[in-house]
């Protein structure tokens, strides 16, 4: 049976992890390679690097980070943040990433999904979507790291992205993100049930039971968390042990 995936996400800026990572057993908590290695030991199923480097000049550093990580750990790596062209994707995939995640650039230019899928295969193209419930009770797509609201309906956008060749959806609910009150079960279930590609739920994971709920109630294929794991509030291992005890299939190492 296919396992539900637990995915830690690391925010990387100029080659360093930001939002300090609180691991006791690594020497450099700012080193993304060390953090990824630790997550690998905890049985993380994938690692996501979100590159938040602001200046265009220093964007090459994420490729170095990916290359160094891919030499040391042998699980899938996804890189997102600032990817706007097929050439950006190529650079990152050639550095050793397995998937690229695109967000705002795909909203501005949906063909980027198709050209990425044509060039590298759908399995490489993750569409990241930041959504928030609007006054009409529907979900709007936000771009630029959640700073700009669009008039695009999230459910329609995700359906379109799937048709264009996205291989996976990384769905972040801005309503639950940062709250630690649980994943957004409503929109996650809508998207998971609608999509024939895997859906990664993100935003709001704070307790063990939240992970069970997002899998058993909202049918997510994977769950992503950042600070929860960074600060050591929970380890990936804790989450998996709990899920296994609740009859949810997970990979253990």
């Amino acid at each position: 049976m296919i396992s539900k995936r637990i995915i830690p996400c690391l925010d990387v800026k100029d080659g360093r992890v930001v939002k300090g990572v609180n691991f006791v057993n690594i020497t450099d908590a700012g080193d993304p390679v060390e953090c990824a290695t630790e997550y690998n030991k905890q049985s993380a199923d994938e690692i996501v690097f979100l590159d938040i480097t602001a200046s265009h000049e220093s964007r090459g550093t994420i490729c170095d980070t990916v290359a160094k990580t891919a030499e040391r750990i042998f699980i899938p790596l996804t890189v997102g943040g600032g990817i706007a062209t097929v050439n950006d994707m190529r650079k990152i995939l050639r550095s050793g990433a397995d998937k690229v995640s695109i967000n705002s650039a795909a909203v501005r230019n949906p063909n980027l999904i198709q050209s990425g899928a044509d060039s590298f295969g759908s399995q490489c193209i993750v569409l990241a979507v930041d959504v928030k419930k609007n006054s009409k009770g529907r979900y709007s797509v936000f771009v630029n790291g959640g700073r700009i609201e669009t008039d695009i309906d999230a459910v329609e956008w995700i359906a379109k992205a799937e048709r264009l060749g996205a291989g996976e959806i990384l769905l972040t609910s801005m309503d639950t993100d940062g709250t630690k009150n649980g994943f957004d079960l409503e929109i996650t279930k809508i998207v998971s049930d609608m999509c024939s590609i895997p859906v990664i739920a993100s935003g709001g994971g704070g307790r063990l039971s939240h992970f069970k709920d997002v899998f058993s109630q909202a049918n997510a294929d994977a769950a992503l968390a950042a600070s929860l794991f960074h600060y050591g509030e929970l380890t990936v291992k804790d989450v998996k042990k709990y899920l296994k005890g609740n009859g949810i299939p997970v990979r253990e190492v």
Partner: protein, 202 residues
């Protein structure tokens, strides 16, 4: 020395790094040469027709078909070992193992993507240290149908998905051992060991 076949399809970065990590001697092979090679690995990500076309254009088809030492096909590389595929259009494969590549059916998310546990059916030293239930990382939309005698392991995804095949020295893995953490690395190590043993015994 392991030869990794480069026929211009997909990213070999991870595989090469995994081989380096486990301390295997390897080289990239892009012409038909048997010099010093103990085994071949046929990687590949993408569609079957494109894979066969690139393999034909590489001029290495005869070389691979006549190869008698250990050969490991990974993902699309495994599928290419079989008789034919229905992906997009009927395409003949290398026919080193009889069997067909068919679309994964059922009301399921396609591709079959993620970690899935193996169920073992045949015992082989290739899988030493790996147990039923150990997870490997899969990404594929087509599966192999082949006689049971070649199916070492399957994974359950609404149906039995052929995960590891073996016919004499021809081996296939549908998942990516180079992306399957420690278990995957163990399989690659076992393949390297098997290749060394084969070559020192012949």
């Amino acid at each position: 020395m392991i030869g990794v076949i480069d026929y211009g399809l997909g990213n070999m970065f991870s595989l090469l790094h995994a081989l380096k990590h486990i301390g295997a001697d390897f080289t990239i092979v892009n012409t038909a040469t048997e010099e010093n090679l103990d085994a071949l690995i046929l990687p590949g990500v993408g569609a079957f027709p494109e894979g066969m076309k690139k393999l034909i254009n590489s001029g290495m088809i005869d070389f691979i078909v006549k190869w008698r030492k250990p050969l490991l096909g990974i993902c699309l590389g495994m599928q290419l070992l079989f008789s034919d595929s229905e992906e997009f259009t009927h395409t003949k494969g290398l026919d080193l193992i009889e069997g067909n590549v068919v679309k994964i059916k059922g009301n399921l998310k396609i591709p079959h993507m993620g970690w899935n546990g193996l169920d073992f059916h045949i015992k082989t030293s290739l899988c030493d240290g790996i147990s039923s239930g150990d997870n490997m990382y899969f990404v594929h939309s087509y599966k192999v149908e082949t006689p049971k005698e070649y199916v070492v392991a399957t994974a359950e995804y609404g149906q039995d998905i052929t995960a590891i095949v073996k016919k004499d020295n021809v081996i296939g893995m549908q998942f990516h051992p180079e992306k399957s953490g420690e278990c995957g690395l163990k399989l690659l190590k076992n393949f390297v060991k098997m290749s060394k043993n084969y070559n020192s015994n012949t």
